[in-house]
């Protein structure tokens, strides 16, 4: 049995005079890839942080794997990656990947094994002993993703993880992420402000508008969610397909509507 990964019902979040989130209703199925997109200030990051239990909602309920968000955080049901890779400089690449396991007292041998496995998955095996500072931005971000995956979470929360990368690296990372999400069968909640990125990655694109932060529309993405074996080559095909451009237009129009 696998219930939904995330259920949000009537979620409000108020910061002083600002209604950052207003009546959010959203359910993310197990293994589903959902992107949040919208102009800055639309509350997409806040929404992700509420799911991560880094912010408390002012009203409404947040359930992750059927549990309250705080319990899910304590149980390590999710892994998280931010825009900045946020690697610890005094740890080697492998030790950074091991961090979540280290914090939870997993024995060293097991940690080593898992880190090696993950570094192979993100293609950084030969950099295991390097310092984070010696890696490029894209490589650092791959380490951060590997770290988020270390406790084998069933949900991956990503807050503009490729925002600081150049376009070429970004497209390669998107393909990598799709492959990893397919392999691990984890659900992904992905915050971005790039329309093509949202479309190419997602089963569903959730479009938000600011002041107050609301979900205005949900557009079907172009990722065939039923194909966990999706290879990077296929992603390139998606990028050039007519359906891809139709979806981009749909999202763009939804964004414009929300703004106007």
């Amino acid at each position: 049995m696998s219930g939904p990964a995330v259920e949000l019902a009537g979620v409000d979040k108020v910061f002083g005079p600002v209604r950052a989130l207003d009546g959010i209703e959203l359910t993310i199925g197990a293994g589903e890839f959902v992107s949040l997109i919208g102009p800055s200030g639309c509350g997409k990051s806040t929404l992700l942080r509420v799911v991560a239990d880094l912010e408390q909602p002012t009203a409404g309920t947040v359930r992750v794997r059927g549990k309250p968000a705080a319990q899910a955080r304590l149980d390590q049901d999710y892994g998280i990656a931010f825009q900045q890779a946020g690697l610890l400089e005094w740890r080697s690449v492998a030790e950074n990947v091991e961090l979540p396991l280290h914090v939870h007292g997993v024995p060293r041998a097991q940690r080593r094994e898992r880190a090696a496995e993950l570094l192979e998955m993100v293609g950084l095996t030969e950099f295991a002993r390097s310092r984070p500072g010696e890696l490029s931005g894209g490589m650092q971000q791959r380490v951060a993703i590997a770290r988020a995956l270390a406790p084998k979470p069933s949900l991956l929360l990503m807050d503009e993880p490729f925002g600081a990368l150049d376009e070429m690296t970004r497209e390669r990372m998107q393909a990598e992420l799709l492959r990893i999400a397919g392999e691990t069968r984890a659900a992904v909640l992905f915050v971005t402000h790039s329309i093509p990125e949202a479309v190419v990655l997602s089963d569903r694109v959730v479009v938000m508008s600011p002041r107050p932060g609301r979900i205005t529309e949900v557009v079907a993405g172009r990722r065939p969610g039923s194909r966990p074996d999706l290879a990077p080559d296929d992603v390139e095909d998606v990028r050039e397909s007519a359906a891809f451009f139709t979806a981009i237009t749909d999202v763009r129009e939804a964004l414009r509507k929300g703004h106007g």
């Binding site: 390590q76 900045q84 400089e89 280290h102």
Partner: protein, 288 residues
């Protein structure tokens, strides 16, 4: 490579100092330089500025001229410096522990930071000379575990009074230095305060802590020497400076041996911190 360059520049700097000293003696008039009635440059005769080699030679001579079976000045200064080094080290350890505990408490409880930090800063504005007799006075009235208070205990306490400050301030800065994102990462990992301290805050504080320990070590040495002088504690290099200075008119070079001894003491303390630096280089990183 960088280490070698540091060593070379240290030797060059020392040589330049010696050359400048001897040059001043050679070029400037013995009676100093006066403008009107005011002397703007000091006397350069042998009583005020003995030759470098006279000072160095004095190390090998008996402490009191003419007396047989006496220890040499070198032995006296070395044993004095060693005594003071021990007290300064004790002061550094006590001050370090005190500073670290204060910093941890302040980092843990924001209220405590607001309540304590002004006092920590204020503590350093009180002149050391004013506290020294107080500490010695209190010390005479208490006994710890049945052991009477020793004069050197006062010196160690005063030395720690100077040493705790840079450690408390530097470590507090270091403990609060992790970026918000790093702190949130640990929260998302369901790490408690102690785990976050051990795996994030302490490693992140090292780049702030190393310069703080360097300052604290220098302060501990200065504190120990000044405390020896102002409490009249025997056996250390502080006492030697006073003793030798009192007879400086008759024996000028001997005073400089004690001053050199104190300077070397500072260098030894700095070098010890350098070793710590080497041991912790993995955490040194760059201070954001």
């Amino acid at each position: 490579m960088a280490r070698l360059r540091t060593a070379v520049s240290a030797v060059v700097a020392f040589t330049l100092l010696v050359v400048a000293w001897e040059l001043a003696k050679a070029v400037l008039p013995e009676d100093g330089v006066r403008i009107g009635d005011t002397r703007v440059l000091p006397r350069t005769d042998d009583a005020a500025m003995p030759h470098v080699w006279t000072v160095l030679a004095r190390f090998g001579e008996p402490e009191v001229a003419g007396a047989a079976a006496q220890r040499t000045v070198g032995e006296a200064v070395a044993s004095g410096a060693l005594f003071t080094l021990g007290l300064a080290l004790g002061g550094l350890v006590i001050g370090g522990v005190l500073g670290a505990v204060l910093a941890l408490a302040m980092a843990r409880f924001g209220l405590l930071e607001r309540a304590l930090l002004p006092w920590v800063v204020l503590s350093q504005t009180v002149p050391l000379i004013a506290i020294a007799p107080l500490v010695a006075g209190w010390g005479g009235k208490i006994a710890i575990l049945g052991q009477p208070w020793q004069p050197w205990t006062s010196v160690m306490v005063i030395s720690s009074y100077l040493a705790f400050f840079p450690i408390a301030v530097g470590m507090l800065r270091g403990l609060t230095s992790p970026r918000r994102a790093d702190v949130e990462l640990f929260r998302s990992l369901a790490a408690g305060w102690w785990t976050t301290l051990l795996r994030l805050r302490l490693p992140a504080s090292v780049p702030h802590l190393l310069p703080a320990v360097r300052l604290a070590a220098a302060a501990a040495v200065v504190g120990a020497i000044v405390a020896e002088i102002s409490t009249g504690t025997r056996g250390g290099v502080g006492r030697l400076i006073i003793e030798y200075a009192q007879s400086a008119t008759g024996d000028p070079s001997r005073m400089y041996t004690a001053i050199l001894g104190a300077a070397v003491l500072g260098l030894v303390a700095a070098a010890a911190v350098g070793l710590l630096d080497l041991a912790l280089r993995r955490y040194r990183g760059s201070v954001a």
